[in-house]
Symmetry: C2
Subunit: 198 residues, 2 copies
């Protein structure tokens, strides 16, 4: 599956549960007014599209391949059957979904109470934790992220995201090359993220 391919679209039926084997996927949502937010990124080993199986049977978001990607998927009956026979699978799914719910709730609080700079910092720290691997230059996030992606995951415009990221690059906090971000020191970003508003 090549870069930019839509794996599924918001509203599609025939929902399946997916897992990323290799590459990366962007899960985003588009409102009736066309405004877009990125809900999350999924890397190797991550699952997506699972929740829709248990709600209305339509995907609530779009999934797009960020780079060349391999993925596997299961149909609803396969998964339900598995859960009936092995309740632990269902229980661990609740765990996964529950954790995600808490993450999204944290984002709601951030969006409601923090400034853009802090939200971007938080987003990068989270991405570094999830997708980062250490290099001599710092923690590299191996997903290809456009400014627009960073903006959409932080709830801002690509202009503001661009200004802030360029500022950080000038200050030596990170390096941005060919859509790959390398964070010199995540704890510096964390400090920005936690800064009081006053």
């Amino acid at each position: 599956m090549s870069r930019g391919t839509r794996i599924f679209n918001q509203g599609d039926e025939g929902v399946r549960a997916h897992a990323v084997i290799e590459g990366g996927v962007r899960i985003s949502q588009t409102g009736s007014d066309g405004a877009q937010v990125v809900l999350r990124f999924v890397g190797p080993g991550g699952i997506f599209g699972t929740v829709a199986l248990f709600t209305d049977g339509r995907y609530p978001a779009d999934a797009t391949a960020l780079s060349d990607t391999f993925e596997a998927s299961w149909s609803e009956p396969e998964l339900l059957d598995l859960m009936e026979r092995y309740p632990q699978i269902a229980i661990s799914t609740i765990r996964v979904v529950g954790r995600r719910l808490q993450e999204v709730q944290d984002r709601v609080r951030e969006l409601a109470t923090q400034r853009v700079e802090q939200r971007i910092a938080h987003a990068l720290v989270r991405l570094a934790k999830q997708f980062g691997h250490s290099t001599t230059a710092g923690t590299a996030i191996f997903l290809p992220l456009r400014r627009k992606d960073v903006a959409d995951i932080s709830g801002t415009t690509l202009h503001t995201a661009s200004r802030i990221l360029t500022g950080w690059e000038r200050a030596g906090l990170l390096v941005s090359q060919r859509r790959r971000l390398t964070i010199r020191d995540p704890s510096e970003l964390l400090q920005i993220a936690e800064e009081a508003i006053d």
Copy 2:
């Protein structure tokens, strides 16, 4: 349980699953900086605190009684045992949590892309759907909501919320009495909520 009582606090251990029998509960979250958001309100028949059982065993939010409230609760072993024996309970829990996840994701999109006025309108429409009952004056929301509650669920300040609600009251869109809101016509609010930004 009388008005204002804390049912549990963010970070508390000894998590139990709760259900509201009578009254109303506000689920809110406080950030390290003291800023607050309301995640949702729970009315009779609603359950809360369930997700924490499956994640880290600590409540991720505060629960406060909005009015005099009766509630029931179950311990973790009781619920897990039930789910082991009746997988359908686990599966339907995924359904409930999944729906909530989608709602929170919608709010993320709203916070990221809409103006305060639209967000408040949406919040009221949702509350009317969930907690409203028809009266001659319109749809009455039977939960006691302070301006601060409306603000915290819409991601704004009580000042801005006050201005907007007072404006709507002047325009005859709603009546606000003793912390009870009555919406003359929800579709008018929906129209405000859907207004393009342009």
